[in-house]
């Protein structure tokens, strides 16, 4: 067992799965020779060759469309979209073909592709390099949306995503790519898709988050005067409603933290489900601490945009003092 960061855990997962499954290929812009802009595919081309680690043109529609063709013809492509902002053009193929080919073919074709993409803010990388599109993607039936928040889950969830028969968009929080190190087993293991993680039991309120916000939410809650139950959603779609609802029924109070814009953010869906399934258990309206409804701002304003300790604790107070 070694202490790895998120990038290293992803690299390890890819390497081990590629050794195991000859159908697995990695493709994307700069993934081969240069090992990816964040080094997530570092050294893979050296070990597996140019045929299995393919540098592509700057062609997001082509990368995803080609991956779909590979997948239905028996391969297991893992495509990298260099920044999640570039997913917007790839979204064409994701939604019009990847998400639907199983339905159209009466289940006779599946589309086992993984689309990895660094996402989220906090790295001073300006708009289109800091986007959080989990809600847009979750609104597309037929694809799964997975977001790890730490190295252990990054490896286990990525292996599950690779082995899943359906298309998975795997969003990797750039801000914590190297900010967290923890013990990651060398041997293979999986973390199931569609299963949230209760990372801390508590009684006063339920706090729900995912991605990079998980780290900052946890740190903020250490300074709160309440005993929070903390849930890492991990898979946005399909959502593990059960874990969330059970927790909210127990605590009666809930705060959701995400960095994506507020309106129609994924927090809204979670609130809707709580209203449907746990309304009579609520002691207070569910609160959200989110990004704002603006294009992602650069540099100084980024600090105001992203939920921080002050805003998270204020959200906790609001829920508790209602």
């Amino acid at each position: 067992m070694a202490r790895l960061n998120v990038v290293q855990a992803i690299n390890l997962a890819l390497r081990q799965e590629m050794r195991k499954d000859k159908r697995l290929i990695v493709l994307g812009e700069d993934v081969g020779k240069s090992g990816g802009v964040f080094r997530a595919t570092d050294g893979l081309q050296e070990e597996f060759g140019e045929d299995r680690v393919v540098d592509t043109p700057l062609s997001e529609v082509g990368i995803v469309g080609t991956s779909i063709g590979l997948a239905v013809n028996g391969m297991r492509p893992v495509a990298e979209i260099q920044f999640s902002g570039f997913l917007y053009s790839a979204y064409d193929q994701i939604t019009t073909h990847a998400a639907r080919i199983r339905t159209r073919s009466r289940g006779r074709f599946t589309c086992p592709i993984v689309i990895r993409s660094p996402y989220g803010g906090g790295v001073r990388a300006l708009e289109l390099h800091c986007e959080s599109q989990e809600a847009i993607l979750a609104h597309t039936p037929g694809i799964k949306v997975v977001i790890p928040s730490r190295p252990y889950d990054a490896k286990g969830l990525l292996i599950s995503a690779i082995r899943d028969p359906d298309p998975v968009v795997f969003l990797e929080p750039m801000r914590v790519y190297r900010a967290i190190k923890e013990e990651v087993p060398e041997e293979e293991y999986t973390v199931p898709l569609g299963k949230a993680d209760v990372i801390k039991k508590g009684t006063d309120l339920t706090v729900i988050s995912w991605g990079a916000m998980m780290k900052y939410t946890r740190e903020a809650l250490e300074k709160a005067d309440y005993n929070a139950e903390i849930i890492d959603v991990r898979t946005i779609s399909p959502l593990d409603s059960e874990t969330i609802i059970n927790s909210v029924k127990k605590t009666g109070r809930c705060l959701i933290v995400h960095e994506a814009p507020r309106t129609c953010g994924f927090g809204a869906e979670i609130i809707a489900q709580i209203n449907e399934k746990a309304f009579l258990h609520l002691e207070a309206p569910v609160e959200r601490v989110t990004g704002f409804d603006v294009p992602f701002p650069m540099y100084k304003l980024e600090n105001y945009y992203l939920p921080d300790e002050r805003r998270i604790l204020k959200g906790v107070e609001k829920v508790m003092k209602f």
Binding site: G65, G69, V72, H97, T103, S105, R106, D166
Partner: protein
């Protein structure tokens, strides 16, 4: 070859006949006028070769061996259809016959054919992919991304552009800075030809060379096949009455009907006597009638099937 062309033509004519009854629930983009292209290309393909198709895809599906009964059932939204009544005429998929899918997204099928071809290379199985698309797809970014990558990696793909000169109602000259589509493909360093898409023999021979070339590992070929759609962009009617296209233009192309031309050739060369042609037509009529009965008698999907086949 004649049988296949007749099958496509008569299938589409049956759709025209049935459509006004308003119980066929899918919009339809009819292939009438294009028959020589699907026929000439697909007769060179193996069952396990791949095709990606577009919204005007009935002809490709029939030519690739798909079952007309299941196609019609799908148009009627029946659970026996190719997509269990969920996809309609524009989204037919059939793994058994190598049909990656027809698609309502113009240009959307090209990268799928490219990806399937890359997989074939990696698996060493000599399967060829054919991408069928129209001149409208040339407007799209996916066209250029797909040609570039296929040529770069020398993939076994044949790009077949059915240039009928109209994307919905916009003429090619109002959309393309360069009206020579085949010339665009040359820019991507692949052999590229422009042929009469209403001449099934020419299409067949050109496609044979292109497919052989792909199968022997020499990379992609581009075929622009010039043709004309007889019906409106969508639906069983003709849009000429609505002033969408000049009547004289349609008349000119109808004179060059691909089915009629091939029929005349067969008669002139004494390949197939008229009596056998009539017998073939009767046989096709029977097949289609059987398909109609199958489709009409099939059950509609139940509400509980809504969630099936999503994940």
């Amino acid at each position: 070859m004649y049988l296949l062309m007749l099958r496509i033509r008569k299938f589409e004519e049956k759709v025209v006949e049935l459509y006004p009854a308003q119980d066929m629930r899918s919009p339809v983009h009819l292939y009438i006028g294009h028959e020589a292209i699907a026929t000439g290309v697909c007769l060179n393909l193996r069952k396990d070769d791949y095709v990606s198709s577009n919204h005007r895809g009935h002809g490709h599906c029939i030519a690739k061996g798909m079952d007309m009964r299941l196609m019609l059932a799908e148009f009627y939204g029946k659970k026996t259809g190719y997509c269990k009544g969920k996809g309609g005429s524009m989204h037919l998929v059939d793994p058994e016959n190598g049909v990656l899918g027809t698609s309502a997204i113009v240009g959307g099928g090209l990268p799928l054919a490219v990806g399937a071809a890359l997989a074939s290379v990696m698996q060493g199985n000599e399967r060829v992919s054919v991408a069928f698309f129209g001149d409208g797809a040339v407007d799209e970014g996916s066209f250029h991304e797909s040609l570039n990558f296929a040529s770069l990696k020398k993939l076994p793909v044949v790009f077949v552009c059915e240039n009928n000169f109209y994307a919905t109602n916009s003429h090619q000259s109002a959309r393309h800075s360069n009206n020579d589509i085949a010339c665009l493909a040359e820019g991507y360093m692949m052999p590229s030809v422009c042929v009469d898409g209403n001449d099934v023999i020419t299409v067949f021979e050109t496609a044979r060379n292109a497919i052989n070339r792909a199968r022997s590992g020499k990379g992609p070929t581009f075929m622009e096949c010039r043709t004309y759609r007889w019906k409106a962009h969508v639906g069983p009617d003709c849009d000429v009455e609505k002033g969408c296209r000049p009547r004289e233009e349609l008349d000119q192309w109808v004179k060059r009907c691909p089915v009629k031309r091939f029929r005349e050739l067969l008669l002139d060369e004494n390949v197939l006597p008229e009596s056998e042609m009539l017998e073939l037509a009767r046989q096709v009529d029977e097949e289609i009638e059987e398909a109609v009965i199958f489709a009409k008698n099939s059950p509609l999907p139940s509400p509980t099937e809504l969630y099936e086949d999503v994940y």
